[in-house]
């Protein structure tokens, strides 16, 4: 194996992110209040080793073998998700959810993280097998099914955050294979109806706009009808659906809309996060010196709100640097997807990019109140074995694809 064919920029960006992530996790444990978080970076180090092993293994696997193994991987992931629903346990912030698989009381992992990768593989295999981009809603249905199965299983846990990640992956990959914008909009329209359904005026306006779009783009009559009716149904059903949400989910959504609602309970997290970030100012309070974190005002500083630690301790400058690192990583991934030797690899790497992007956007967005608090980890930063290993495996995949394309001289692109 020729080392010069490794994608250096991907390796370097990942390595820098991993080092900064480990340091941040170490800092997150430096509190004045005794906490289990203090020792957690050591365990993350073990997971890191496991992740590197996983990445190397993945790098060794030929895309063809991977393509062949994809349906099995997908099947196993779905089976694990079903198993989790049946015997899963909760932990941490989502104690009432069934997200963990445990053997003999020891939690060994969250299958959803692996399922994200498996779904990317499966979707890539399906989309790469098509010569033409799906041009109608009916042609999208198989893709929809591939994503819907894990999506629904995850939503049932319930894990709202991961469910959002599946949607991000779906839309990004469909876009990458050339699905037209208006078709994606029609696909997303039930979700838009769902969100607007809380208030009848915006929703009515949306229905009018949708009707106009349908008249202009002229899809098949049946498809158009289905889309339109689905939208109407979503608008009507949404309130009923709202009532079926668990109170903590309702509270999370509500406190996203108005964090000051109940500062001690639901809005507490977001307020404390903003206080931590805001008090960091431009230059921050210094590595490991964040007072809000040290005094345990910042909740979940090692998982959901690890980015607030960066905001508090390294300031706005630190935030920009980390965002730039993630941007660099995503640029590299998009470049690899674009230069891939085969369609399967291309769609696969873009799927990985969309997964990383959704995680970063939602996680960082929720620390400043831009996104609801849905609790998904920040790649390479948040504590959590399953997701770290998944990320490393994904990077290993991308490295292999990049290596392949360099091998065939595509890298010039």
């Amino acid at each position: 194996m020729q080392a010069h064919r490794l994608d250096r920029s991907l390796l370097v960006t990942t390595a820098v992110l991993v080092v900064v992530g480990m340091l941040t996790l170490y800092s997150a444990g430096q509190t004045d209040v005794p906490s289990f978080v203090t020792e957690i970076w050591k365990r993350q180090l073990l997971w890191l080793v496991l992740g590197i092993v996983g990445a190397i293994l993945m790098f060794r696997v030929s895309p063809r073998i991977l393509e062949w193994a994809t349906p099995y991987a997908y099947g196993i992931a779905i089976a694990l998700l079903i198993l989790t629903l049946l015997v899963g346990t909760g932990a941490g912030t989502a104690a009432s959810a069934k997200s963990w698989l445990a053997v003999g009381g020891v939690r060994i992992g969250q299958p959803v993280e692996a399922a994200k990768l498996a779904t990317i593989l499966m979707l890539a295999r399906h989309l790469a097998g098509k010569r033409e981009a799906p041009a109608t809603l009916v042609e999208i249905v198989p893709s929809l099914v591939i994503v819907s199965v894990p999506f629904l299983l995850v939503a049932l846990q319930p894990d709202l955050g991961s469910a959002i990640v599946f949607l991000g992956i779906l839309f990004a990959m469909l876009f990458w294979v050339g699905v037209k914008g208006w078709l994606l909009l029609l696909l997303a329209s039930p979700l838009i109806s769902l969100l607007l359904g809380f208030n009848e005026y915006p929703w009515s306006a949306w229905i009018v706009v949708l009707t106009l779009i349908l008249l202009v783009v002229r899809p098949y009559v049946l498809e158009g009808l289905v889309v339109w009716l689905t939208n109407v149904a979503m608008g009507v059903v949404v309130l009923k659906l709202w009532q079926t949400l668990a109170p903590y989910q309702q509270n999370r959504l509500l406190s996203f809309l108005n964090p000051e609602l109940d500062p001690r309970a639901t809005g507490w997290n977001i307020i404390q996060s903003k206080v931590a970030i805001g008090s960091g100012g431009i230059f921050g309070k210094g590595f490991a010196e964040g007072t809000q974190k040290r005094l345990a005002f910042l909740p979940e500083q090692h998982t959901d709100f690890i980015f607030s630690v960066i905001g508090e301790e390294l300031g706005f400058i630190g935030v920009l640097v980390i965002l730039a690192l993630f941007t660099a990583l995503l640029m590299v991934l998009v470049r690899i997807a674009r230069g891939a030797t085969d369609t399967y690899s291309s769609v696969l790497v873009l799927g990985v990019a969309s997964m990383v992007f959704t995680h970063v956007f939602v996680n960082v967005g929720m620390t400043v109140g831009l996104m609801p608090i849905v609790g998904i980890p920040l790649p390479f930063f948040s504590y959590g074995g399953s997701f770290l290993v998944t990320c490393f495996v994904a990077v290993g995949l991308a490295l292999r694809m990049a290596w392949e394309s360099r091998l065939s001289g595509y890298a010039a692109l």
């Binding site: 805001g278 995503l330 992007f357 692109l413």
Partner: protein
Amino acid sequence: MTWQHPHDLARRARVGRLVVLAVFGILALMFFRVQVVSSARYQLQSEENRLRQVPLPAPRGLIVDRNGTVLAENVPGYSVALLASSPESLTAVLARLSPILPLDSAHVASIQRRYRQAPTEPVMIQRDAAFEVVSALEEQRVWNPGLVIQSDPKRYYPHGPVAAHLLGYVAEATEEEVREGKVRRGGVLVGRDGLERQYDDLLRGQDGFKFVEVDALGRTVREAREEATLAPEPGQTLRTTVDIELQQYIRDNFPPDSRGAVVALDPRNGEVLALYSAPSFDPNAFIGGYDPERWTELRESEEYPLFNRATQARYPPASPWKLAMATMALRREVVTMDSRMDISCTGGMRYYNRYFRCWKIEGHGDLTLAEAIQQSCDVYFYQLGLKLRLENLLHDAVELGFRERTGVDLPNEYQPLFPPSTEYYNRQYGPRGWTNAVTLNLAIGQGENSQTLINMVRFYAALASASGTAPEPRLVPGKPGRSRSLQLSASSIFGLREALVGVVAGGTAAAARIADLRIAGKTGTAQNPQGPDHGWFIAFAPAEDPVIVVGAIVEFAEHGSSVARLVTPIIARHLLGPDAVPTRAADYQLQTPADSAPEPVPILPDTSFFRSPADTAVSAGTPTR
């Protein structure tokens, strides 16, 4: 056209990159808003989040006597308070501490209430904790980081019960006081009685504060920066006019197991030299949150030890009142010092169909005013009262201040009781329901007349002063209060003083004479329907130029003459110093005169006649005015 055409991919890659840049750009903008634009606000919020104010109690000011001897001071003590994040955690910590710091449920409930009033401030759990408790709690601190153990100066009265009523005591502010904002925080010591209460604002000082850093659960992590600490400002030292040695002497010599009071004033300026009420109590007992049992004991004791008998007890003024009568009569020029009355004393006199007795059954014979004062002849003063007329008597007595508080700087001084005018009788008994006989009772200090000891002493201070004016009694020198003039000629004052000197030299108080001292005084025996009579004695010396007035009342003393033997040594000690052994005059006169405790004479038309005709001991007279 396949979807993987390089141009298409390049275009989509551009769109993808744009999306990433746009979304992360929005994120960066959000962070810019929070971290740069609103940073100051969040910084403030983060400070407020983690900093808690812990008050540093100010030591109360000292109280010293006129010679600088400390009467109330502060000694080192420790208080235990708790910073809690929620009522639940407060309960939990209290439960955890219970092996070291046992608290009953009422106490816990009160702590909870106080916590709810100010949840961000440490709630006082125990003031004046024992050293063993404090050291045991210090060990527990790791598990209970909200504990605030700090030195909290504790009030101490070195003289204990000697000057208890005068100094008062301190106690923690009640919940009502905290609610009403009278004090800035719970757990503050406030003066509850005496000077401690009267001059509370001066003595209390200003609390300082320091900041401690707390975590999200309200647990103290460390003390914040030194420069943010504001040192407490101790209260001012209160210099009083009291002579604690004299006060101690009074306590030592007060008849044991008796109730009563002694007041010593400087007639020249109204300074209170001593003020003692018996029985006394130990004000140190109230420090550190009072023991409810002891409180109840003090509160409900039959002897009412908390009651200041010098300013809050009212007694019939009895014979000392005769000087007030003489003053009023001399002022109105009804009599002179040499005037004699129409009826000479034969042990009593008849007024209409009632017989008013003199205390001396044998009678005093024909007396001048000076002699009548000396002998305390009741018959003389009955007639003096009638000559003065009731309206004038009431008017002048009110003018002389017998219906007003002296204004001494002690809390809760009682107002003396005295009828403001004849209207009082009309209202009380109906316009035809009373007779002029009330004048006779009033003339000898009985009837509707109740005076506090301090008010009577104030009156005698006026007699003792050169100008016949009495300044307001004061315990702390300050702006002079209003003084009240007797409006007597110098010769009248001189005459009255000489008569009073005669009382001690050879009159009713002869047994209390002190050699080499010319003491002017007046004994009195106030009839007490509840038991043995109360004894009065008020005196001043030296008679030519008085520098001290001492008044005493001893409950159930039977006679004023015995009280005189308590008072004259006090005067002697003050004038001659502690080392001079006062040579008491020879006890040649062993009999102690009863002095003015005639049988109570009903002043009301007796209605019992109609119910029991057989009872003719007192017969109803026609009401005359």
